[in-house]
Amino acid sequence: MADAASGSVDRSVQVKLVLLGEAAVGKSSVVLRFVSNEFQANKEPTIGAAFLTQKCRLEDRVLRYEIWDTAGQERFHSLAPMYYRNAQAAVVVYDVTKATSLEKAKSWVKELQRQANPNIVIALAGNKVDLVQTSAMSSGSTPSSESEDEADDATATPGESPSVSGGEPESLRQVPREEAQAYATEAGLLFFETSAKSGEGIVEIFTEIAKKIPIEHILASTRGGAGRSGGAGGRAGGAREDVNLEEQQSKKDGCNC
């Protein structure tokens, strides 16, 4: 898999990453923020899965994320294996303002741990954290309409979205950070609270995944890439690790009409 890219970009490692989670928790927004650093409303829903790529730099290595952003609706569930097979990483997203979405996330984690690649790195992301940050938000409704992604941001008028209709920001939180953190620790997941709207925590997810991914393993397992990787691992001189967003390869998905 990696050899096609490694031919063109030196030391680039392809990482297949899949996003899973209940509908309307913000999967597409998380990807969009990461890939093009933007926040877009009214995107067409994901049919099957959307495919995007993003390169990022970790230490002296370039990772090329191939991101599969899957459809959230329950009935697409049976298609998910098609997308998470061979994935080296997964981001399971839930919505901090919706307790049920964590349950769904847990079931995804279970499924991944059972069915997917055994070395898969899984990150749990509690999205829409901007909705529950008390001081920062000026009003309840405006940010809510912006920050819901995928489905909810589609509803132009905030009042229409049933789950978040104003009110005291802190009261919107249904999943305490500690609870999710405890679960993530127990299940061996990376854990973040994120906001696709403000960008908080998004880059970190992918950085931490990059750190945790057994890159040597990937290189070794892909033809041709194995030889080069050996030396690269030793050079840990530059401790600076930042995700390089300048090389944006956002691929347009969906209808181009």
Binding site: A23, E44, M82, S107, T155, K251, G254, C255
Partner: protein
């Protein structure tokens, strides 16, 4: 995902009749869709098909075509022999006159005039009596339509069709219009034709694409001519030119109507006036998960189109999707439907869109959008196999680099390419799709792969594949041969090239190919979906208890099988959708079963929850399994229903079984005690002791010998003895230890410790609780369920016709009857515990006789006898059935007869105390009589209840054989 759907199991291959209906896009008759055999006999207007030659047009605009004329009231349909050149589906109500033509001798021809004066001439080429019969039936059918007032409805309906305006506005009425009434009609309507006909958002918000570039004007002209000559909307005759005109792209203004005409949704709209408006009224104020899902996607459906930036478009989209999901709750709403509906609404009114969605989801793309999306998966599999066959190099390469075709092709099929290609091109594929059927999706898909063949052989992964496809779709408007010197060749776009290759090179893919490929892979898909949902159901269990995953899987299988037999009531399914949280949450979308399904479920895994009759009739030996019904089963149900919902989930069943299957002696005794301790106060009342004894009797009902009966009897004696003796000082106040009667039947009476002591006093019961109770639950792999046979075409069909459940039952019955007449019929109940296969255990028997003498508390024993005898009567009457009939009808092995005798006697042994008749011989005789009657009733539940004579048998046989013929 704890929803368990058995829907996939219920799939039936369409009958030939249904296929014909589908081919002609004839809506299923709303009143009971009976099996075709029944229909023919039931006095409905008969269907008939007849060989015919269609000639059309006085000016000989078209050739004549040989084909078949079908009378499918209320429709008349024709298709040419190749099934694609020429066809029509004509509602009978559009026919105004039918004349027998004076023609040469031997030619039997009819002239049909439609309401707008178009004449169709069909020559019936079958033998004369057949033709006469056909005409007779046609006359009847027309009469019925006239009586129904459908003839009048036509004129109102066609006003909603754009084509009518198009034809009449084009000025000159053609010479075929003798009727005249039409012309005045439409002319009256002329002032405001725009408001009359149905149209889509495009009329207000513009249609996509440049009308000049699309050559709208000339297309409209061509169509106007065609429609004028060949009928339109309800009366459209589809000649080859029609298909060709569709393939060059429908004009925007006519597109909506042609879609509904070609797909046949027009007939649905015609035959269901007012239904859509009624639906809109019905859904007001309701809510469902589908509605919530729809709401999320409304603003994400073709958001670039102006119409969906306005409230008008959004509301229309909402209404259509809501109405559809409301009417089809089993499909509900699936992402991608929003895109389809949004696209269709540009060209069609809401009502038209609604009916087209019905046709799409129901007929054209069956199973695509349901909760399992099995149709989508199936067609992806079919597509894959077709690619392997026609484009082996690509398929090999994909396999080599481990790329799945579906990552790209799934959205193509799911959204009819609308989500993948620029809309103007996608709509042209949709045009062909509605005209030529689902095979178009496959043809186009393969053409795409073929055109990109060389590049596809270079790709290395899924991502590369998707990018290549994206680039290709973006370039569809470019010239296919930019370097060509010939300007005409340069003008050919890549899209035109795509269509050309689709329909030229892949014309071999026919509807039949797809049907047979679907048949081939259906099992595979269903099994993979089911094992997937099984795995996730097991995975999503909150607790497995002490079971392994494999065991939980067996429980799931048994539950699944039970659900196939007895689907849980539909009321179980809706409640989730009433809750107002989001989809995908397991708490809400949970399958729960009611008692009827539970009984079947238990009968799968619990030996005493079923009656197994070993039937030997000289021809076969089989085991008939029936579900047992008893208060104890219901008791278990409510015992396991810990959340008191009146229904059980998979989790409840696992936990419930965990509570009994893996227990030791003491735990089992306690479990049984708790099961009968209704108020959970730690005491059984006297009534509960009796109920518990009845439970014992129920469990032991098929055991051979008296040991268990003795044990139960002893148990009762002891229970009351100990219970009385342990009663509090209460007894002292009266006349002494012998007066425990004060205690009410519903007062706490026997505690667990006492119960345990009483049970352990009897070794039969002890061994029951020690091992037999747990062992009577058996988790074994359920034998593979029968899927509708999907294998080989003809043989498969044939087999599916023969090997139905009903036929098997019938065969069994028949062989039983034969067995009886030759005296070889015997029925033996299979013991549920089966510990004692021989008749020993004399000790138990002795104790059985002694109790009445020993017991002092007369009245309390009286109740014992009354209630228990009633229960034993039930069971004994079932008991009797087997053994005694055996003793009558067959030279049974001697020991079995003895068994029977013993089992006969046991009830009376108890009855003795209640001074019943002691004459067991006499009762034996009665029993036999009863049995005979019962056997016969069993055997002839359907028809006759007298004994079977040879003549009867003949008649029955004849009847069975006769049905399909007539």
């Amino acid at each position: 995902m704890s929803t368990i759907s058995t829907q996939l199991r219920n799939f039936k291959e369409p009958t030939k009749d249904q296929l014909t209906h589908v081919f002609f896009s004839i809506p299923e008759a709303p009143p009971v869709p009976l099996k075709d055999t029944e229909k023919q006999g039931s006095g409905d207007i008969e269907k008939m098909e007849i060989n015919a030659i269609l000639s059309f047009g006085a000016q000989e605009v078209e050739d004549s075509y040989a084909g078949k004329l079908h009378l499918l009231p209320p429709y008349l349909a024709f298709s040419s022999l190749d099934r694609k050149s020429v066809r029509f589906t004509l509602p009978l109500s559009t026919v105004r006159r039918v004349e027998r033509l004076n023609a040469r001798a031997g030619v039997y021809a009819l002239s049909l005039s439609t309401w707008h004066g178009m004449k169709i001439i069909v020559q019936l080429t079958s033998l004369r009596p057949t033709a006469d019969l056909f005409c007779g039936l046609l006359r009847e059918a027309l009469k019925v339509e006239l009586q129904r007032g459908q003839m009048k409805a036509v004129k109102g309906f066609v006003k909603t069709c754009y084509s009518e305006g198009l034809v009449s506005l084009s000025g000159v009425s053609d010479n075929e219009r003798e009727d005249g009434s039409l012309i005045t009609e439409t002319k009256e309507g002329c002032p405001a034709p725009e408001t009359e006909f149905h149209g889509g958002l495009g009329l207000r918000f513009k249609f996509p694409g440049d009308p000049k570039k699309l050559r709208e004007a000339s297309k409209i002209k061509l169509w106007t001519t065609y429609l004028k000559n060949h009928g339109r909307n309800l009366t459209l005759l589809r000649y080859p030119q029609c298909t060709r005109l569709v393939q060059v792209g429908l004009p925007n203004r006519l597109r909506g109507e042609m879609w509904e005409t070609l797909s046949g949704s027009l007939y649905l709209r015609f035959s269901n006036p007012g239904v859509y408006d009624q639906l809109l009224l019905d859904i007001q104020g309701t809510n469902s998960t589908s509605f919530e899902d729809i709401e999320k996607d409304l603003h994400r459906s073709l958001p670039e189109y102006a119409g969906y930036q306005s409230d008008e478009g959004i509301s229309a989209l909402r209404r259509v999707l809501q109405a559809y999901s409301h009417r089809n709750p089993e499909v509900g709403y699936c992402q991608a439907m929003n895109i389809l509906a949004a696209a269709i609404l540009i060209y069609m009114s809401e009502e038209q869109t609604f009916w087209l969605l019905e046709v799409l989801c129901d007929r054209l793309l069956p199973g695509y959008y349901g909760p399992t999306m099995h149709g989508t998966l199936l067609d992806q599999r079919v597509f894959e196999s077709l690619v392997t066959r026609c484009l082996p190099m690509i398929s090999d390469h994909f396999q080599a680099v481990d790329v799945q075709l579906s990552v790209a092709s799934l959205p193509w099929f799911l959204s009819l390419y609308i989500n993948s290609m620029p809309m103007v091109f996608a709509f042209r594929i949709v045009d062909c799709f509605f005209c030529m059927g689902p095979k178009v999706l496959f043809q186009v898909g393969k053409a795409i792969l073929k055109i990109n063949g060389e590049k596809l052989l270079q790709i290395q992964d899924d991502g590369g594949f998707l990018n290549l496809m994206r680039e290709y779709f973006a370039s569809l408007g470019d010239s296919a041969h930019p370097e060509s010197a010939d300007p005409r060749a340069r003008a050919i776009t890549r899209f035109q090239e795509l269509l050309l290759i689709s329909f030229r090179e892949f014309a071999v893919i026919s509807d039949e190919t797809i049907l047979s490929e679907r048949r081939k892979y259906r099992n595979e898909i269903v099994n993979s979906i089911e094992s997937f949902s099984k795995r996730s159901a097991v995975r999503n269990l909150k607790t497995l208890g002490r079971f392994t995953k494999e065991q939980a899987g067996f429980i799931y299988d048994a539950l699944y099988k039970a659900m196939c037999d007895v689907p849980p009531p539909p009321t179980v399914a809706p409640p989730p959708s009433l809750l107002a949280t989001n989809d995908g949450n397991q708490e809400r979308a949970e399958t729960r079963i009611g008692i009827p399904t539970f009984q079947v479920f238990l009968s799968e895994i619990l030996t005493w929850a079923r009656n197994e009759k070993i039937v030997i009739n000289g021809f076969q030996e089989r085991i008939d399994r029936e579900v047992a019904e008893h208060e104890l089963i219901d008791r278990l149900f409510y015992f396991w229903d810990t959340s008191c919902k009146g229904s059980l989930s998979f989790q409840d069943l696992v936990s419930g079984l965990d509570g009994v299957m893996l227990n030791d002696l003491m735990e089992n005794i306690e479990w049984f005690f708790n099961l009968h301790d209704k108020n959970k106060d730690g005491y059984l009342t006297k009534d509960e002791v009796l109920t518990l004894s009845e439970s014992f009797l129920f469990i032991f009902r098929h055991e051979i010998g008296d040991a268990y009966l003795g044990a139960v009897s002893k148990f009762m004696t002891n229970a009351f003895e100990y219970g009385d003796s342990l009663l509090p000082q209460h007894t002292n106040s009266k006349t002494g230890a012998t007066e425990p009667r004060d205690i009410g039947h519903n007062q706490p009476y026997l505690n667990l410790a006492t119960f345990r002591m009483v049970v352990l006093a009897d070794e039969v019961l002890e061994s029951f609780f020690e091992t037999d109770l747990s062992a009577s639950f058996r988790l074994e792999p359920v034998p593979d369920l029968e899927l509708p046979p999907a294998s080989s075409g003809f043989l498969g069909d044939l087999w599916s016709n023969i090997a139905t459940q009903d036929n098997r039952k019938m065969f069994n019955k028949l062989s039983d009857e034969l067995g009886k007449t030759i005296g070889k019929h015997q029925v033996i109940y299979r013991p549920t515990i089966g510990r004692f296969t021989k008749l020993e255990e004399p000790t138990a028997r002795e104790s059985l006789i002694s109790p009445p003498a020993k017991t002092t508390s007369g009245s309390s024993l009286g109740t014992v006898v009354v209630s228990s005898s009633s229960s034993t009567l039930d069971t004994s009457s079932i008991h009797d059935n087997g053994p005694s009939s055996a003793s009558v009808f067959s030279p049974m092995p001697h020991f079995k007869a003895v068994n029977a005798a013993f089992m006969e006697r046991t009830p009376f042994a108890i009855d003795d105390a209640g001074d019943d008749d002691d004459d067991s011989d006499l009762d034996m005789v009665h029993g036999e009589d009863d049995d005979q009657v019962m056997d016969e009733v069993d055997a002839f539940l359907e028809a006759h209840d007298s004994g079977l004579t040879e003549a009867d048998k003949e008649v029955a046989k004849d009847l069975l054989n006769a049905e399909p013929v007539k």
